[in-house]
């Protein structure tokens, strides 16, 4: 992995030594030693265990539920179901109010079954094994109805419903007809399941009408607010903890039925309850990236300039909620095109409610768009790299705004040069190496930069340490570490003397860890709170009996873990606090969501080499070179890790990942780690990531735009484009498996 590519970003921003440094994760030792406690690691006294009974049909009603045998099983405390469950209330599920849930239907609300793997009963017992054994003795009879198993069945059965995020400018239809070059192509992407290592889990208990829940959550504040609505009680009486989660990729953004059920039955039973969602139900009841069908119609003039672009997307959603996969979100602004239409529609199928999965919308959307752009370049007779350089937008034409900072041309050119794009022989199948045919492909990547409102608290303490807290989370990305870097940057206190606490809803309200906005949202609030703490420190120092009683606060500067006056007198924070008999100097701060003066986006490009061995039908990704423009890089190590991980996930999207449903009954078939394929180490190519590192100070004082998602966008298209270059086959349906590339596959003789 190369690490010598950082530009000297000098957009006028300050550049402390610790910001940008590859500081090791401060939570690493806790994770490696097992001290880090995840939701299911909490074992309060008198804990009981819940295990679900899950629907084995995808549509219908529970006609009879026999729990007597289960109740007789060893250790069973109670068996809950729609006829025996406390009354709860739905959350309004408002993003703006901060109480969003994805599946609005409450667990055990009624006897209806909307998807296979839906909770239909819940057994609570003294041990996990007893709960599971008893759950299997619950007999459920269903009145099954015919299930809608996939997108095509849904469209055929009941058509589509208009979604959100639509956009139109100019007249795309009129400018398509009669254009010099046109393409009209349809792409399909399958359901993908997040499959974080840590399964969803909740441990809940009640003390004096206060609910405490450790939940595998990417958003403790929103979870608290949603539970507040669901249990009709003040948010102050609920604390949601998620100090560590074993990745989420979006599946843990919002509260799912199991967490609600855990809290509810804990209250009913008057004892702590823990529930771990089994791996098969991670494929059913905790969200997924939905199936999409996307039609792309592009047209250029004779010179290869886009004159018309239409991106029409349909995605599957559940019968209980409308989830829109905004596949055209990037299409609106990546390329300059005066006549452009983006539309989103949904169709209902018998699956659980979908949810955001890493780069929602953009990941499937850019597979389609960036494949189509290659097809368009081909039709126009232009090199796909040159086509993009010719057509990249210079301003956000969808919002009629300037980009705050956009270096996509440099990113594309630098990655191309390092990759060796100039060596590409454009003729399909022409680049051979022994038995393998080499293919080169590229694609742009893109992600909106977002910043939410945030509160934070920082204390500088009498023992010379600093303490920062914010109710955001570290979902494995490095948030603990970059918060510590920020505190250190502002106060000068060394990072090993900074304690960071996240993942507790009782801390100042912080953002959901999603959308790649945690960095841009949290760091300015932390910095502002740290400065407020320093201001407090200066007031203490200049007060009566203060260390700088004769000085003005404004005359003091921060230096070497203390304050220094104009005459060079230096006193440590610890001594200042000691003199004033204060335990700490505290600062709290609030920072606002991003303004709308600019279009804030991150940019980049992927270059991929695939190798196809037709003699054994083996396709592999050999090299990925990516250049990413995400504003300032706060932590070289964790940032690079995010892009590399996203690239690997993108390879999985391109070659392997698909949740397969039986079209006869809508049941997910490959619902485990052995059969749901993601890349393993042996599949990982040489990955070279260039981080451009141009601070975007129009966006926030640190100039950081966030980096968790952009790396997966466009990657599957770059793979598909490389596959086309190698094989001549344009695969428009993910994943690109070997059987789709083979010649002479016979017809099936049976089903």
């Amino acid at each position: 992995m190369s690490n010598d590519n950082r530009s000297d970003g000098t957009d006028g921003a300050k550049r402390g030594g610790i910001i940008g440094a590859g500081v090791p994760r401060i939570d690493g030792p806790d994770k490696l030693s097992g001290r880090a406690n995840y939701a299911a690691d909490n074992l309060p006294p008198n804990l009981s265990y819940a295990y679900g009974v899950f629907s084995t049909v995808a549509s219908g009603t529970v006609s009879r539920l026999s729990v007597e045998e289960a109740r007789q099983m060893p250790g069973v405390v109670d068996v809950f179901h729609h006829g025996h469950f406390p009354t709860l209330y739905r959350s309004p599920s408002s993003f703006a109010q901060g109480n969003k849930v994805e599946e609005t239907r409450l667990p055990f609300e009624d006897e209806r079954v909307y998807y296979e793997g839906q909770f239909v009963a819940l057994v609570v017992a003294d041990t996990f094994d007893n709960a599971r054994a008893a759950a299997r003795r619950v007999k459920v009879d269903y009145s099954a109805e015919s299930a809608i198993a996939n997108l095509e069945q849904g469209v055929q059965a009941h058509g589509t419903k208009k979604g959100s995020g639509n956009h139109a400018r100019g007249d795309a239809a009129a400018n398509f007809d009669g254009a010099a070059h046109t393409i009209d192509v349809t792409y399909r992407t399958p359901v993908e399941t997040h499959n974080p290592m840590e399964m969803h889990a909740s441990t809940a208990w009640w003390d004096d009408d206060h609910l405490t829940i450790f939940d595998a959550s990417q958003g403790v504040v929103v979870a608290r607010n949603a539970l507040s609505k669901i249990f009709a009680m003040p948010p102050e009486r609920i604390t949601v903890h998620a100090p560590y989660i074993g990745s989420g990729f979006g599946s843990k953004l919002w509260t799912w039925p199991h967490a609600i059920a855990t809290a509810a039955v804990s209250r009913e039973l008057g004892r702590p309850v823990q529930l771990v969602v089994p791996r098969p139900q991670m494929f059913t009841t905790t969200g997924h990236r939905p199936e999409t069908r996307q039609r792309l119609r592009l047209a250029t003039d004779a010179s290869g300039k886009l004159v018309s672009l239409r991106h029409e997307s349909i995605n599957t959603t559940s019968f209980t909620d409308q989830y829109v996969e905004t596949c055209g979100s990037v299409t609106k602004s990546l390329y300059s095109c005066p006549n452009l239409t983006v539309s989103h529609e949904t169709t209902r199928v018998n699956r659980g409610t979908p949810t955001s999965m890493r780069a929602p919308g953009a990941a499937p959307g850019l597979f389609a768009l960036e494949s189509a752009v290659d097809e368009m370049a081909d039709a126009a007779g232009v090199d796909p790299l040159q086509f993009r350089l010719d057509n990249y937008a210079e301003r956000d034409e969808s919002q009629d705004l300037e980009f705050s900072s956009n270096h996509i041309v440099e990113a594309t050119n630098r990655a191309a040069e390092k990759f060796g794009w100039a060596n590409r022989n454009p003729e399909v199948g022409s680049m051979k190496d022994g038995r393998e045919i080499v293919g080169y492909g590229m694609a742009a990547c893109n992600w909106e930069a977002m910043k939410m409102a945030c509160d934070a608290r920082v204390s500088i303490r009498a023992d010379g340490t600093a303490f920062a807290s914010c109710a955001t989370q570290d979902i494995g990305t490095g948030t603990y570490t970059i918060v510590a870097q920020t505190v250190s940057d502002v106060t000068g206190i060394p990072i090993d003397r900074v304690t960071v606490k996240l993942g507790d809803s009782s801390y100042p309200d912080g953002p959901v860890s999603g959308g790649s906005w945690a960095t841009a949202t949290t760091l300015p609030a932390i910095a502002k709170a740290a400065r407020a703490a320093l201001d407090e420190m200066k007031r203490y120092a200049t007060g009566d009996n203060g260390a700088f009683a004769d000085s003005e606060a404004d005359a003091l500067e921060v230096a070497d873990g203390g304050l220094r006056s104009a005459d060079g007198t230096q006193t440590s924070f610890a001594d200042i606090l000691k003199a004033a008999r204060y335990g700490s100097a505290d600062g709290e701060a609030h920072t606002d969501a991003a303004d709308s003066e600019y279009s804030y986006r991150s940019f980049g490009a992927h270059f991929v080499e695939v190798r196809w061995d037709p003699g054994i039908s083996r396709l592999r990704v050999a090299r990925v070179f990516s250049a990413i423009d995400v504003g300032r890089v706060i932590n070289e190590t964790t940032a690079r890790n995010q892009v590399e991980g996203a690239v690997v996930m993108g390879i999985g999207m391109g070659l392997f990942e698909a949740t397969e449903y039986d079209e006869r009954n809508a049941r997910p078939v490959n619902n485990n780690y052995a059969e749901y394929l993601v890349p393993v180490h042996a599949d990982q190519p040489e990955i070279d990531v260039i981080l451009l590192d141009y601070p975007d100070t129009k966006f926030n004082e640190y100039g950081a735009r966030g980096i968790g998602e952009i790396g997966i966008t466009g990657l599957a298209a770059a793979v598909a484009n490389a596959v086309h270059h190698a094989t001549g086959k344009r695969i428009r349906e993910l994943p690109i498996t070997l059987d789709k590339l083979m010649e002479d596959v016979p017809q099936a003789r049976s089903a």
């Binding site: 084995t56 060893p74 094994d129 599971r132 054994a133 299997r136 098969p280 022994g434 038995r435 061995d613 003699g615 054994i616 039908s617 083996r618 592999r620 070659l655 392997f656 397969e660 449903y661 039986d662 006869r664 049941r667 078939v669 490959n670 619902n671 052995a674 059969e675 394929l677 890349p679 393993v680 180490h681 042996a682 599949d683 498996t737 070997l738 059987d739 083979m742 010649e743 002479d744 596959v745 016979p746 017809q747 099936a748 003789r749 049976s750 089903a751």
Partner: protein, 342 residues
């Protein structure tokens, strides 16, 4: 997990006694006793509630972990020898490269460290309709039907040896190599010891897919004895799959050849990932022996292995893929191309 009795045996006889012989009458699925070796199949399926034994006899204390060379040149492998130990054994790497490669192509390091030789022979199918505990499955519930036919059947379903009752592939890589090498399974049961030809050990599904092997109730595999190695043989295992590790074969070949110049004198070919049992291909072997090695010959003979293949909705590609596994393996073995390149 359901409750079951647990017994730990310190010897073969004790294990057989503890196990008893009245199990498996109900199709090996519910009730009865099961031997526990590495547990990589059994414990998974018990946790999934697919296997529901009343009793588990743990044989990890039974001393069956030796590999010995017999006087007649055969290699006798104790049933409790782990996949890792067997793959790394010098006699195996020297004389049976195909077996070592097949073992290392299977599962993951952690699983290979636990999985045993006898347990691998007894490995059960990966068909999701068998493992889900709900779908129609004649193997799990005789007479209920086969949900894989007409369902999702791309990866772990066969094109050879299938029936209207079951189309699941036998998942083992090790067994494919053993099928090519030739072997004898030594078993011991309530009625004493006997030997089963490896080729006869695994059963085709026919209309009794719940009958997977030739063991009688209570019998325990004690050893697998490999045939003596062919003199001057070259052998190799080639496994084709979607990802490069930790996936069951979509198609694989175990090939052993001896050459006289460019003439193939002897050939042994077995296939994995395409058959309902470890699939020896004698018609391919016969068509190779005595012929001049050439890619054209290989392509021609590979077709014969699939003359009677049945393709299902999603796995027709296994017919050409299986042929590719044969051809490439033969090309590499006969043309001195670096076999690790594949």
């Amino acid at each position: 997990m359901r409750h079951f009795d647990y017994a730990r045996a310190d010897g073969t006889r004790a294990a057989i006694q503890a196990h008893g012989s009245d199990d498996e009458a109900a199709g090996y699925q519910t009730g009865g006793a099961a031997y526990l070796a590495g547990g990589t199949t059994l414990l998974d399926l018990v946790k999934l509630d697919v296997m529901q034994p009343d009793k588990i006899v743990d044989i990890n204390g039974v001393a069956l972990d030796e590999i010995e060379r017999l006087d007649d040149g055969r290699l006798r492998i104790g049933a409790m020898v782990t996949n890792t130990a067997l793959a790394r054994d010098e006699r195996v790497t020297a004389d049976y490269a195909v077996l070592s490669q097949a073992l290392l192509a299977g599962a993951s390091t952690q699983l290979r460290n636990k999985a045993t030789t006898g347990g691998n022979v007894m490995q059960r199918v990966r068909c999701p309709y068998f493992r889900d505990g709900v779908s129609d499955c004649n193997k799990r519930e005789p007479g209920s039907g086969c949900a894989a036919i007409g369902g999702v059947n791309r990866s772990v379903h066969a094109v050879l040896g299938t029936s209207e009752s079951c189309i699941a592939t036998h998942p083992s890589d090790m067994c494919v190599a053993m099928a090519a090498i030739g072997a004898t399974v030594e078993v011991e049961g309530p009625d004493g010891k006997r030997e089963i030809d490896f080729a006869e050990f695994h059963l085709l599904p026919g209309d009794t897919p719940e009958q997977e092997h030739a063991l009688k109730p209570g019998e325990l595999i004690t050893h697998v004895v490999l045939d003596a190695p062919m003199q001057n043989a070259r052998s190799s295992y080639l496994k084709l799959r979607d990802r490069q590790s930790y996936q069951f074969a979509l198609a694989s070949s175990a090939v052993i050849v001896t050459l006289d110049g460019n003439t193939i004198r002897k050939a042994r070919v077995a296939l994995g990932g395409v058959g309902t049992k470890p699939w020896r291909a004698p018609e391919v072997e016969a068509a190779l022996e005595g012929k001049q090695a050439s890619e054209a010959l290989f392509a021609d003979v590979a077709k014969r292995a699939f003359d009677n293949a049945t393709a299902y909705a999603h796995n027709a590609y296994k017919i050409p893929l299986g042929q590719q596994a044969i051809v490439r393996n033969l090309v590499d073995l006969t043309q001195s191309v670096d076999p690790t390149a594949a």
